[in-house]
Amino acid sequence: MADMTANAPVLEGPSGPKPRRRFSRRNIFLYGTLIVVSMYYLLPLYVMVVTSLKGMPEIRLGNIFSPPMEITYEPWVKAWAEACTGINCDGLSRGFMNSVQILVPSVVLSIAIASVNGYALANWRFKGSEVFFTILIIGAFIPYQTMLYPIVIMLREIGLMGSIWGLVLVHTVFGMPILTLLFRNYFTSIPEELFKAARVDGAGFWGIYLRIMVPMSLPIFVVAMILQVTGIWNDFLFGVIYTKPETYPMTVQLNNIVNSVQGIKEYNVNMAATLLTGLVPLIIYFVSGKLFVRGIAAGAVKG
């Protein structure tokens, strides 16, 4: 069986022209540009972190860019465990567990279904399969708002309105277009001979999928997982419409905390809450950034 990296042999390193000297004018320009651009990308993160470590009096004094004179972790504690929405004062902690409970089944189910779809589209086309696929892709562009109302009615009819499984279903449906596209493109890039050989050996639809396609497609599963984890974790619209207060995901609670102005706006608590909510996807990106780039190269781009 072929090495799985065989699909992306070009990833071994940069292919641009080689720089010649270390301190050439070109190099200064190159790194200078990159550093200036990096500042634009880092600025918001820096401001959020710095603000979240300041006390309110210091924030009111002005400059949002200056580092905290006195570091305080109070806003973080407050955001996690004490911030109030209405009369519930338990911060984001409740939403965290809800988000996990929504995230895990949604990610697993959506990737399982989309990968099988992509596999069927790539290797087992049948009459009409491309038509459904085209509809699905156009579906990726439909503003979700168009669907909100009919979906309320559909969920009501199958009795899942307000439950976590209803939300899982919605995430699966809306994750399907892009994921199916990813998997379909990736599976078409797997050498045809492998598929043929397996067919000769008598393997069927599911046999080939489980024994050949899945083990060979790790990079694209990683990409799909990263996209889904961040997408579902960051979702606000579906979470707020299709769940109820006990099962609100973390983003909805973030919105609740940020918009519950009790007296004055506590920018530091808001920023701490914002960072806490963004932590899960951020960690995933920092840890698996390289795999992500690899997977994108192997899957998305070959479309």
């Binding site: 209405g86 109302y149 309105m161 207060p245 919105n255 940020v258 007296g263």
Partner: protein, 409 residues
């Protein structure tokens, strides 16, 4: 124990089964400091005085954020036990579709028709002779809040009506003070416009436009004056670049703005900041001209749930919300006026007393929510948002306003 007797009577009418503890999920969008304190009065009352439990379903943001969630859950067959909605025309269709619990039995047993003042509040809850909601408070929008500190700094006397306020504005500007604080959101600008209309055009004209949808009056000379005043106000608010209403209120509290036209809920912000009515700030209902207030406010609806125990508990909650003790504690915390005139509100502050007096003397208007559909209100808010953030002339704005009123249903 009179209340308990009534309560039991009410419960008995609906269901013969003995009520057992039920968790009642209640959704609302009261999340600011004073509001949260007020809600907890409800929750406390339910938890301590009945065997049921209050499950708080606060949704932050505003009615605009919360309403889609509330409505889609009711439509989606997974309703909460009770929910805040502005009374008025917003819930008509839900009632028509049979999605709301009929509260008439409790209302009749307790004689709501005799205790709710003004009666228009109960009318707003009534649909084809049946009662579907409990009004819990009265909010009025026709107030201007004036900073004494700002006018002292500018060396002009504190105004007692809108004309004096406008006359004092140049002095404020010279002293580096923004004359009028205004959050740049359509609904706030619409409130300011409404207050100017009641104050300058008078009650009859206001009713002709808002209740009778008379487009000719809306295009007429009285309203031309209102639009001219709104254009003046736009100039006074030129340098106010905040978005949220409470940040605009904060400008008045910190004396960086001369005043703000805003509903009586602004009072909560002054209280939190420790300001004293009559010393640090003053409030002028009807902008100091016509001492009338509209009687909007909040009400609770009880979505229909097919479980007799929940239904009994819903009725218990309904009667609890309007009971005298809960009305007093809730409204003092919220800074709003109670819906019944038969209770003692002597601990209320100056501004609230002004409101209570107007209420007692009958200077009330039905609120915009009861007259205009949300569709029409949204169009007016859009027009106001555009008007206040551009150089649209008063004449153009009035022509478009008249067109909206002509199309209103």
């Amino acid at each position: 124990m009179k209340l308990t007797t009534k309560l039991l009577a009410a419960t008995a009418i609906v269901s013969a089964t003995s009520a057992s503890a039920v968790d009642l999920e209640v959704t609302h969008w009261w999340t600011s400091g004073g509001e949260a304190a007020a809600v907890s009065k409800f929750a406390e009352a339910l938890n301590t005085r009945t065997e049921h439990n209050w499950i708080d379903g606060a949704i932050a943001g505003s009615g605009g954020t919360a309403r889609p969630i509330i409505i889609s859950r009711i439509l989606g067959g997974d309703p909460m036990a009770a929910t805040q909605l502005n009374h008025g025309r917003q819930a008509e269709e839900l009632i028509e579709a049979g999605l709301m619990t009929d509260l008439t039995e409790v209302a009749e047993a307790e004689g709501w028709a005799d205790i709710v003042n003004p009666p228009s509040l109960l009318d707003a809850c009534t649909f084809e002779g049946r009662i579907y909601c409990v009004p819990v408070n009265i909010h009025s929008a026709q107030w201007i809040w004036i900073s004494h500190g700002a006018f002292e700094k500018a060396g002009v006397p504190v105004p007692t009506n809108w004309d004096e306020f406008v006359a004092g504005a140049p002095a404020l500007q010279e002293a580096g003070i923004v004359p009028l604080a205004m959050g740049q959101q359509g609904w706030q600008q619409s409130i300011a416009f409404g207050a100017l209309a009641v104050g300058l055009a008078g009650v009859d004209t206001w009713l002709a436009v808002n209740r009778d949808k008379n487009a000719e009056v809306a295009a007429g000379p009285e309203y031309a004056r209102v639009f001219a005043a709104a254009a003046d106000a736009r100039e006074l608010a030129r340098d106010s670049n905040v978005q949220d209403w409470n940040l605009a209120t904060n400008m008045v509290i910190t004396d960086t703005a001369g005043g703000q036209i805003m509903g009586d809920w602004a009072q909560g912000e002054f209280q939190v900041a420790g300001e004293v009515a009559g010393e640090d700030y003053s409030c002028l209902p009807g902008l100091g001209f016509n001492e009338v207030l509209d009687t909007g406010g909040d009400a609770f609806y009880f979505p229909a749930i097919d479980d007799p125990e929940v239904r009994a508990a819903q009725l218990e909650l309904a009667s609890l919300l309007i009971s005298p003790e809960v009305q007093v504690s809730f409204n003092l915390a919220k800074g709003s006026l109670p819906v019944r005139g038969d209770i003692d509100m002597s601990s209320a502050n100056d501004c609230m007393q002004k409101g209570l007096n107007i209420l007692a003397s009958g200077g009330v208007l039905p609120s915009g929510d009861m007259n205009l559909s949300p569709d029409t209100s949204t169009q007016i808010e859009e027009l106001m948002a555009e008007f206040w953030s551009s150089d649209m002339s008063a004449e153009d704005a009035q022509a478009r306003y008249a067109a909206i009123i002509a199309d209103a249903d």
